[in-house]
Subunit: 205 residues, 4 copies
DNA sequence: AATGAATGAGGTTTCATTCAT
DNA sequence: GATGAATGAAACCTCATTCAT
């Protein structure tokens, strides 16, 4: 419970944000189901009724957290410009990986929510997640197809390349936020880029 | 509700299995939280009290389903023998991918449970998942380190290779079971193998 | 809280009835809004969950009480037979008044519910009440029109006669159950019959 | 929400009346329990806090509406003067019926509140209603007893005559305001008077 | 062993009322 | 005086689990 004197004078948007931020932490810490409205309002230092003044219900605030995250991640991605590459395409790809990884690591609580709590919540939420990942995969897929035409992406089914790239990044992030692993951001990006560039199997067939 | 006459005469183990199988379907269909004990016993054609004769509680049966799956997946993996390779190493690796993918696709309901419902369930369950994936990653990691010594795996951090491989496979499986995509098993395995072998980026740095 | 030993072994219908009867008393005593589910289950000697096993919600049990009362009152009414009067029509009318009054007085708790608690509950319930009184009035109206054709009912708008008769009976019952007045049933019936027969104003116009 | 500019400059009494009138409409439209303070202040075009500057609480404003109505109805009644009848007694009785019916019909919203919403609200309110109807019945009773001494009212229990008269009038009013029936005022009065004068049963006993 | 009625803890939500500005 | 954001008591209902038969 914070000092009430610091809480007065917040305008609607600020109060909303205050509850939202605290809810995010509570969801990250306890998980969606274990997080009770009581935990959230206690963390935010507001009364239970106040919560319902700003959010429809528990699911709504959770959905908003996830939506905000989707928006933030979407904004982090730079569309790869293959037409007039002021920088090399490789740099652009690397830059995107770096931005995504950075966005995910700068707020591990939210990343944990995205990769753990939001998964398997209910059918509707599953759909939302799937749609998001589909849109990401599609974006990637298009870039890859384009890259294939220019000979900078190997031939093969770009949809698979996209899914596997997505999965590789998700898994590293999952391990990092869930196990509290402490890899340097730069290191993570390098490894991903190296993996995408050449795989690792060097074996005869 | 099944014909009760078919249910008599089941011995303890059979009755247990009967409930377990039905529960698996219900969990896969509805998700852990939306799956009510009522749904499970209705599907299994037993009384509510009977459920508790065979299982401690709802979590216990869910945990058992996941544990069985872990065991099944573990059994599917063949330890890569680099010492006395009766077959080429590449074949062994490919064989492993094929077995895992096959095990996951032959029972999509359970795969969905593993990749969606079991995620973010609660802190203890998260730990269980992490441990499983860690053990898989470790196994893979060891093989890769061994492979690096023999020059059949590229240099680099094998832990990352392991995580990314795991993530790539998980994501494809997730997409397949959640979106009902219908890729042929063989095709999936080929794409994964190709990805691990050479990545896809072919660009100057 | 009753002796639990007396409560076991009730079959579904009996348990239902047990809750229903106790709810009726609680509603009568406290009124619909002041009657809490807790009061009802305490009176019935069952757990809160048990209540919801038998009734959808508070409104549903209240509606059922009212519906039962409507049915009971409807059954108490004997259709006046003007075609082949084995008894005089007067006797039949008197008999009906007697039956209705008797039905209302033998269960004052329910009558209080009908005439007080059920009134102004909400729009849907108002509609239900109006429909019931409308059907009663219509029945009465038809008898009166028929009576007018036979010269045993004075000329005039039978709908008004019906409404006013209904109102007169309702008001007496209301006063009796709400104020605990203790008029003998027979006396009440006589006064009503006398009123319907001749009014009371004996004045020049 | 009215134009705020029209609301400034109201003095205390006007502001009070403004809230009161709007509350009356809201209560009539929604019923006591379904009428929220929010509905009332929205209708009155004032802030929620302002409501509590003028009224103790929700019950208080409702009680005041009902009290005002009681006062208005009481004022409408003319005491029947049997001592020095400047007009015939019949005319005075008829006049009273006419005044009451008129008072009830000129403000159907309030009449609906009185005959529906205020009924069965809670024990204290029931008592208030009973007291009011008792005072009305007593007044009527006294007139009738007096009339019996003068031979212009039939012999019999005047308390019953009073109750039944009250009930007859209430029921017609109830039907009119609840069902939106559109009987001419004059017609209603005639039918009541006719009923009180001679009843309608014309049958042998 | 099987049953299913009964339990009650625990969570969500509403809304009349308060109070700092 | 007026405002409306904040409050929190109170009530409802669900559903995993127990237990008498």
């Amino acid at each position: 419970m914070r000092d009430p004197s610091t809480l007065v004078g917040l305008d609607k948007a600020e109060r909303r944000q205050q509850i939202l931020s605290n809810a995010r932490e509570v969801f990250a810490k306890r998980g969606y189901h274990a997080a009770k409205i009581d935990d959230i309002v206690a963390a935010a230092g507001v009364a239970r009724g106040t919560f319902y003044l700003y959010f429809e219900d528990k699911r709504a605030i959770f959905e908003e957290i996830v939506d905000q995250t989707f928006a933030r991640l979407g904004a982090a991605v730079m569309r790869v410009d293959t037409e007039h590459p002021s920088r090399t395409v490789a740099d652009q790809v690397e830059e995107n990986i770096r931005r995504i990884v950075h966005a995910l690591l700068e707020d591990p609580a939210t990343t944990k929510i995205l990769l753990s709590d939001a998964v398997g919540l209910d059918a509707a939420f599953d759909q939302k997640l799937i749609s998001f990942y589909e849109s990401v995969a599609k974006l990637l897929d298009e870039s890859l197809v384009d890259g294939q035409e220019r000979g900078i992406v190997a031939p093969g089914d770009a949809r698979f390349f996209a899914m596997m790239t997505l999965g590789a990044v998700k898994e590293i992030m999952y391990q990092v936020v869930m196990r509290g692993l402490d890899f340097p951001e730069e290191r993570i990006c390098e490894e991903i880029f190296r993996f995408l560039s050449a795989g690792y199997l060097r074996i005869e067939r």
